[in-house]
C-alpha cells in the first residue's frame, strides 16, 4: 500500500520527493514545501486520505521540520509528510482548504514554533496570550523567571 502511495506522489510530483523512510511501519516522506498543498490535495481527493491526524513541528536548531500524520480511515493506510522550513522564518502553505481540522493544529504550531501558514483564515495565537513574546518550543527560547 505505502509503495503505491509513494509511487503516486513521485509520478505526480517528480521533483518534490526528497527522501522517504519507514518509521515503525509508517511511510514518512520528506517533500519540498512548495509541493505540500498540491500533494495533500491529491492525497485527499484521489487516495481517500480523509483524516489529518496530527500536525506538529520539531526544532532541529538549523531548521524547523513540520510533520503531518495523515490517515485514510476506510483502509487504515497511514502516511507522514515532512517538510523542512527555514529556521529563522519558517513559512508553509496552510492545509485548511483540504482539512478543516488543520485550523486549530496550525494555529498551535504557529503559536509555539512561529511557523507562518499562508492561506490560513485565522492565524493567531491559541494557547498563549496574544501579547506573548517568542515561541516557547523553539530550542533557543529562554524560559522567563
Amino acid at each position: 500500500m505505502s509503495e503505491l502511495i509513494e509511487k503516486a506522489i513521485r509520478d505526480a510530483f517528480p521533483e518534490a520527493v526528497l527522501e522517504s523512510k519507514d518509521v515503525f511501519g509508517v511511510l514518512n516522506i520528506k517533500i519540498d514545501v512548495k509541493a505540500l498543498l498540491g500533494i495533500c490535495e491529491m492525497l485527499h481527493a484521489q487516495h481517500d486520505f480523509d483524516y489529518l491526524a496530527d500536525i506538529t513541528a520539531i526544532d532541529w536548531k538549523d531548521r524547523i521540520e513540520v510533520v503531518y500524520q495523515i490517515t485514510a480511515l476506510a483502509s487504515n493506510a497511514k502516511i507522514a509528510l515532512r517538510v523542512d522550513l527555514d529556521g529563522k522564518k519558517p513559512v508553509a502553505n496552510s492545509l485548511t482548504s483540504v482539512w478543516k481540522g488543520a485550523n486549530y493544529q496550525e494555529r498551535e504550531v504557529f503559536d509555539l514554533f512561529g511557523v507562518e501558514f499562508t492561506g490560513h483564515p485565522d492565524l493567531r495565537r491559541i494557547l498563549l496570550p496574544e501579547d506573548w513574546e517568542g515561541y516557547p518550543l523553539r530550542k533557543d527560547y529562554v524560559i522567563p523567571d
Binding site: V23, F24, Y51, D54, Q69, W99, K100, G101, A102, L137
Partner: protein
C-alpha cells in the same frame, strides 16, 4: 410589527468562569437575539507548557506530569505516554502487566464517561443524575486507590510494566463493582436517557455529519456519534484488545443525543472488557527490568491510543539521551473543540451548553 424591530449583533462572553464550561474555557459568542452566529472557543487559560516541561525532564520524571493532562482519565494518559516510550525503546511488557493495564484503563474509561454522564445532565439542569454517576465513580476511585494509592493522579504505569502488584481482594471488589454498575445503568436510563425533557434538549441539536466530523479531525465518541466507526482500539489494536470481545459503539444521528448514547454504550462495552480481562489475567512478572536512568535510542515514534475523549497521540523524538528531544501531545479534546463553531451555529445559547457538554472536553488536556 416584528419586522420593524431592529436587532444588533451582540458579542457575549461565556466563561471562563461559567458553571457549564467544564473548567476554564471562554466561548466568544456572536449572537443575534438568542441565536448563535459564531462561537469562538478561546482556550489556553490552563496552559502549563507541558510539551516544554517534557524536554527538561527524564523519561521517568515525566510520567506523573501526564496525569495532569486529562485529569479525569489519568490512567489513559499514562498508557499513551508509556506506550510511546516502550515502542521507541523496544521494551517488552510482561503479559500480566499488560492485562492489569487493560483492566485499569477500561475502568478509567468508565469513570470518565460517568463524569460525562453526570455533567451532561447537570448542564441541562438535572442535578440528580450527577450524584448517581459520581456515587458509582467513587467505587472505581476506591479501586484505584487500593491499587496505587491515589484517586486521580495515579502515576501507575512504568516503562515495561506497572509500579505495584494488585492488592488482596482486588478481583472481588472489581467484580462486585461491575455487577452493581450494570444494575445502576438501568436506573440512569430511567433518570436521564429516557427523560422527555432531556431528549427534547438533545435530539437533533448540534448536528455534524460524519464527513464533516472526519474533516475536522474529530475522534472518540464525538466522531462515532456521527456514524464513523473509527476507534483506535479496533483500527490499530494495541494491548490485548484483539483478545477480548467488544463492539465499537456508533450512532448515525450526529447530534448531541447520539454522542451521549455512544458514551453510555461504551460504559457497557468497557465493563464487558474488564470482566473478560479478569478471567484471562495470568500470574507472572509485573515489570521487566529497565535501567533506572532510562535512555531511548535515537529516533522517533508516533503512537496513539483510544482515550476516553478520542484518538490520543504521542509523538516522541529521542536524541539518544535520557530526556525527550521533543514530545507532542495530540489532545483529542483540543481538536474536537475545533468543530464547536460549526456545530453551534444557528442554535440558541442554551443549546451551546448542551453541544459543549456532548464533546466532553477536559481543559487540562485542551490547554496542556
Amino acid at each position: 410589527m416584528s419586522s420593524r424591530i431592529r436587532t444588533d449583533v451582540l458579542e457575549l462572553n461565556m466563561g471562563p468562569q461559567h458553571p457549564s464550561t467544564h473548567g476554564v474555557l471562554r466561548l466568544g459568542l456572536k449572537i443575534d437575539g438568542e441565536v448563535i452566529l459564531e462561537c469562538d472557543p478561546d482556550v489556553g487559560y490552563l496552559h502549563r507548557g507541558i510539551e516544554k516541561l517534557a524536554e527538561l525532564r527524564t523519561y521517568i520524571q515525566f510520567i506523573p506530569i501526564t496525569d495532569r493532562l486529562d485529569y479525569l482519565a489519568s490512567m489513559l494518559q499514562n498508557q499513551a505516554y508509556i506506550g510511546a516510550v516502550e515502542k521507541l525503546g523496544r521494551i517488552e511488557v510482561p503479559e500480566r502487566a499488560e492485562w492489569i493495564r487493560m483492566i485499569m484503563v477500561e475502568l478509567q474509561r468508565v469513570a470518565s464517561h460517568l463524569v460525562f454522564f453526570g455533567a451532561m445532565g447537570l448542564d441541562l439542569g438535572a442535578t440528580t443524575p450527577f450524584l448517581y454517576a459520581f456515587r458509582e465513580r467513587e467505587d472505581i476511585l476506591d479501586i484505584f486507590e487500593m491499587v496505587c494509592g491515589a484517586r486521580l493522579t495515579y502515576n501507575y504505569f512504568r516503562p515495561g510494566g506497572v509500579s505495584r502488584e494488585l492488592p488482596a481482594g482486588f478481583y472481588e471488589k472489581v467484580r462486585a463493582y461491575i455487577k452493581k454498575q450494570r444494575e445502576k445503568l438501568w436506573e440512569y436510563d430511567d433518570l436521564l436517557t429516557d427523560n422527555q425533557i432531556f431528549i427534547a434538549r438533545t435530539r437533533n441539536v448540534g448536528y455534524i455529519s460524519g464527513e464533516d466530523a472526519v474533516n475536522y479531525s474529530m475522534s472518540g465518541p464525538s466522531l462515532r456519534g456521527s456514524g464513523v466507526a473509527y476507534d483506535v482500539r479496533r483500527a490499530d489494536p494495541y494491548s490485548f484488545y484483539d483478545k477480548v470481545k467488544w463492539d465499537v459503539v456508533t450512532r448515525t444521528e450526529g447530534d448531541v443525543q447520539a454522542r451521549f448514547l455512544c458514551r453510555c454504550g461504551e460504559i457497557r462495552q468497557s465493563l464487558n472488557i474488564v470482566e473478560q480481562a479478569l478471567d484471562m489475567i495470568p500470574e507472572g512478572e509485573l515489570k521487566c527490568k529497565t535501567p533506572p536512568r532510562l535512555k531511548l535510542p535515537e529516533g522517533e515514534v508516533y503512537y496513539h491510543i483510544e482515550s476516553a475523549k478520542g484518538d490520543l497521540g504521542v509523538y516522541l523524538v529521542s536524541d539518544g539521551t535520557d530526556k525527550p528531544y521533543r514530545l507532542r501531545w495530540r489532545a483529542p479534546s483540543f481538536i474536537n473543540l475545533g468543530a464547536m463553531n460549526q456545530m453551534s451555529q444557528n442554535w440558541k445559547i442554551a443549546d451551546v451548553v448542551a453541544i459543549l457538554g456532548s464533546l466532553d472536553v477536559v481543559l487540562g488536556e485542551v490547554d496542556r
